[in-house]
Subunit: 142 residues, 2 copies
Amino acid sequence: MLSIGTMSRKTGTKVQTVRYYEQIGLLPEPGRSEGGQRRYTDDDLDRLAFIRHARQLGFSLDAIRELLALADNPRQPCANADSIAARQLRQVEKRIMRLQALRTELRRMIDECNGESIADCRVLEVLRDHSECLTEHEDIGA
Amino acid sequence: MLSIGTMSRKTGTKVQTVRYYEQIGLLPEPGRSEGGQRRYTDDDLDRLAFIRHARQLGFSLDAIRELLALADNPRQPCANADSIAARQLRQVEKRIMRLQALRTELRRMIDECNGESIADCRVLEVLRDHSECLTEHEDIGA
DNA sequence: CTTACAAGCTACAGCAGGTAGAGCTTCAAG
DNA sequence: CTTGAAGCTCTACCTGCTGTAGCTTGTAAG
C-alpha cells in the first residue's frame, strides 16, 4: 500500500494535486489507514501516471477523463481514443502556428528598435499603433 | 465621450473585460455620466487598444503594466521596454519548442495506432507506458 | 515506551485572465 | 412617453492547480 507521498514522488505530482484529482473524480477514493490516511494500490499509481503523462502531452482534464473511460472498457474500437488524440494534435498545431506568428512580430518589433529614448521606441510604437498589426484580432488563445 | 460599449466594439474587448481592466488598475477610472455610466476619452481608447494589442502578442497583464508605465514617461531610454519584449520573445520561443515536441509525440502515437480495438490501442498504450515517453521524467518505473 | 518530527489530514483562499448571470437603472430613438 | 438596448454592481464560476493554517498520524531513534 502506497502513501500519498509515495504516489507524489513516483509521478512527480504534488500531494495536493493528487488530492485534487480525487476531488474532481479523476482518481477513485482510495482506502484509508486506521488513522485516516490515504492508502493507494499499484493500479492507482498507474492511473495517476497515465493522467500525468497525458497532462504532459497537453490534454485537458476533460479529455483525460474521456481517455480514462475508454481505457476502462477495452472492448470498443479505439477510434474514439484516436479522435481525442487527433483533436489534441490539431489544437497543438494551431497553437504552434499562432505562436510562430507572434514570434515573427515580436522579432520585427525588437529588431527595428534603435534603443534610443522611450519617446520613439519602436516596441511601444508598434503596440500603440494598431494599423501596423499583422494579426487580426479574434481570440487570444493561450 | 465614449460609452463602454463603444470601447468594447472598437477594440474587440468584452464589456466586462473593460471593467475588469479598470478594477485591476490597468485602465484609469473614467468619468461618469449624470446617471453614473462610464464615459471614456480617446486617450482611454488608445490605452485599451494598447493593452489588447499587447495581449494578442501574449504579454501578461503584469508585463503590460510595466510597458504602460514606461510609455507614460517617455524621457527614459527604451532599453527597459526592449528587455520586456525580449523576455516575451524568449517565452514564446520556449513555448514553441515545447509544443513542437508535443506535436511529434502526438503524431507518432496516432500514426502507430491501427484503429483496431481499445485493448491494443497505441494511443492509450503510450499514455500508459511511461517508458516510451520522450519527455524525461524521474523514477516512475523503479 | 516516549518523544520528535516528517508526513498526512481538512478546509479554505488565491493565482491568471477573464466570463456569465441576476437583478436593477439609465439612455436614446421613435 | 415609452420601450428596449445598454449600462450598472455584485457575485460566482472557469481551468488546473498551489499554498496556508491548524491540527492529527505514522515511524524511527533513544
